[in-house]
């Protein structure tokens, strides 16, 4: 696939993560508190309202896995191993500079890893219910959000005012709306940007900590892409097969999936992963009681740790139509049991929707590059 007409804009987002060390160090020097968060279930509004900086610390590189395996079992999700590895080796500036790490009891691997992590980092674990329905689960999660507020106030010696939590909700909602507007540009046929470019912005935007500035840049990026497209700029051939990616968190090492698709005549138009529609689609209700609204919004995220996980099915069914998807590729990470089991449900759902579906299992190594390429190229050759 040809290069982008807007390299500087995408690189700005891609570079945000690489420049992380300096950015975070500067924030620390300014006296800011940094909170490392592990998952999209982390209610970052609470962190923002305390004047602290939330930063995602899920890791996507195999660089530290060997080190992690000195402690963790080999047959464990690479995301959990990699994240722990970055923490013990102090190779990740975000984890290194985190004053507090917030984790949730999502999958078994993560929740047990937090116990090991708490040996050398300050960790607060939120008890995430395993279901989204019923008042018990909702009440429990509202309580957990309130406990997080108490913890952060105590830890950083601040009072989170009503005004500041409402402001945080507005800013975060604004970001979600912009991200949604951004990736929905790819509803056009052909899409204005490749999936590689889309991911750069979705992932990179996590590492821009000045929200006002970030939202401004997102606005500018959207406007520029729209304008170029209206002026006839085409980055992606009309013939490219439109692919939606779903499954485990995808970034860094697993971008090999996107690459294999886009080198084989496909283009990724939508991500139903943590970095994409899964989290950006839902807003916090600005007219409700703030903490209740935050809790209720986060609990509805459709991750496979939930049982049943109806919200994922609903979102997928909607996205394949809205983005006129030719095929769905699911990526599961090795030893991610909940996603691996859910593959059977997703396969059935896609059969019902009459959308071709394939699922690939991988890890953070590059050893399966040739196999993935064959499998994904064959999938694209198969599409009518």
């Amino acid at each position: 696939m040809s290069g982008s007409a807007l390299p500087s804009q995408f690189e700005g987002f891609a570079d945000a993560r690489k420049q992380g060390f300096l950015t975070v160090k500067n924030l620390k020097d300014e006296g800011k508190n940094v909170v490392g968060v592990f998952c999209t279930y982390s209610p970052v509004e609470v962190v923002l309202a305390a004047g602290a900086v939330p930063v995602g610390i899920c890791a996507f590189s195999d660089e530290t896995i060997a080190e992690a395996e000195k402690v963790l079992p080999r047959n464990l999700c690479p995301l959990v191993k990699s994240s722990y590895g970055f923490a013990i080796t102090e190779k990740c500036p975000y984890i290194y500079f985190s004053d507090l790490i917030v984790g949730e009891t999502t999958c078994d691997g993560k929740k047990k890893m937090y116990e090991l992590l708490s040996d050398f980092k300050k960790v607060h674990v939120m008890q995430l219910p395993q279901t989204q329905s019923g008042e018990t689960a909702k009440e429990m999660w509202r309580k957990e959000v309130s406990l997080l507020k108490d913890k952060i106030e105590e830890e950083f010696g601040v009072d989170i005012t009503d005004e500041s939590i409402k402001r945080a909700i507005r800013v975060k909602n604004e970001e979600r709306k912009l991200l949604k507007e951004f990736y929905e540009l790819s509803k056009s046929c052909p899409p204005p940007i490749t999936g590689t470019e889309q991911l750069k912005v979705l992932y990179g935007s996590q590492f821009k900590f000045d929200y006002a500035q970030k939202n401004k840049e997102l606005r500018a990026t959207i406007d520029k892409i729209k304008q170029d497209y209206e002026n006839g700029a085409r980055n992606v051939p009309e013939s490219a097969k439109r692919i939606l990616i779903t499954g485990c968190p995808l970034a860094g090492a697993t971008e090999k999936i996107v690459k294999a698709i886009e080198e084989s005549g496909g283009v990724v138009v939508a991500y139903e992963n943590c970095m994409g529609a899964k989290t950006a689609e839902r807003l916090v209700d600005e007219n409700d009681e703030p903490y209740k609204a935050i809790a209720d919004r986060y609990l509805q995220i459709g991750c496979s740790v939930m049982t049943p996980n109806n919200n994922r099915y609903e979102l997928l069914s909607r996205l394949v139509k809205e983005f006129k998807v030719d095929g769905v590729v699911e990526m599961t990470l090795q030893a991610c049991h909940t996603y691996a089991v859910e593959t059977a449900m997703i396969r059935k759902l896609m059969q019902k929707e009459n959308v071709p579906f394939t699922s690939v299992e991988t890890d953070y190594s590059t050893s399966d590059a040739a196999q993935l390429k064959t499998r994904l190229a064959a999938f694209i050759e198969m599409l009518p």
């Binding site: 299992e361 399966d368 040739a370 196999q371 190229a377 064959a378 050759e381 198969m382």
Partner: protein
């Protein structure tokens, strides 16, 4: 004038080459892929052309298999999944799918209305592949081509480990217990059939038409019988089944109007 196609299927173990006249196979050749997939493919092409009195300009060369990207002199290239399906349909029209057990992977392909509608491949793992069978034969002191003659058709000692490495340890253990080699061999074949069953189950065949077994192991009637039993579907083969991928590469090139 005949439109000639040469399909080259560069697998991890064998490089298969087929000469195709637009309708069917007229010549075929299989050599060891060796360390250099590009070289074995070039030599195969040279050999096929020479013995059919053709020159490079007379043919369209289409490549497939793991080594396809190393075959830089090919005019076009397709994945082995698509090629096995189209080659399978050329060799045995009317099939519902293909089972291919290759050197380093195994795959199950579903065909409906003359095109691929679904497929499964083994993940990053050697269980159920030709490599796994090779290793087992070596441990048991047998040659791959002697399986049918040697394995006990009626009784098996189960080899339960799905992991090729651990299965080897299991076989060593069974041999140490002085278990019957011919029954262990049958257990190995059953283990491959189980792996294939996992894949056919996920694809969901209707059973209205047989599946074609391709690849080097299609020579073993016993393995085909054991697989058919395990998956409760009809499995057939063809004398040119080894060349299904190479034939399919020719068919795909023709369909794409590359000649």
């Amino acid at each position: 004038m005949t439109k000639w196609f040469v399909g080259i299927d560069s697998g991890s173990a064998l490089c298969k080459t087929a000469l195709f006249d637009g309708k069917g196979v007229t010549d075929a050749l299989a050599v060891k892929t060796g360390w250099n997939p590009g070289l074995s493919a070039a030599e195969s092409l040279g050999c096929i052309l020479k013995r059919n009195s053709l020159s490079r300009g007379d043919v369209c060369v289409s490549s497939t298999g793991y080594g396809r990207e190393a075959i830089d002199f090919a005019d076009c290239s397709f994945t082995e999944i698509t090629c096995h399906a189209f080659g399978g349909m050329n060799l045995a029209p009317g099939i519902e799918g293909v089972i291919d057990i290759g050197g380093q992977d195994s795959k199950v392909i579903q065909i409906e209305g003359g095109r691929v509608t679904n497929f499964m491949m083994n993940d990053k793992c050697a269980a159920g592949t030709g490599r796994f069978l090779n290793m087992s034969c070596e441990r048991l002191g047998l040659r791959l081509e002697d399986i049918d003659e040697f394995a006990d058709p009626d009784e098996a000692i189960p080899v339960n480990n799905m992991c090729a490495v651990f299965a080897e340890s299991e076989i060593i253990g069974l041999l140490a217990m002085q278990k019957d080699r011919s029954k262990i061999m049958t257990g190995v074949l059953q283990s491959i059939a189980q792996k294939i069953r996992q894949m056919t189950g996920k694809v969901g065949f209707t059973g209205t038409a047989p599946l074609l077994m391709t690849g080097g192991l299609s020579k073993s009637a016993l393995l085909i019988r054991i697989i058919a039993q395990a998956i409760s579907l009809d499995v057939i083969t063809h004398e040119l089944a080894l060349f299904a991928g190479a034939v399919g590469a020719c068919v795909c090139a023709g369909d794409k109007g590359r000649w």
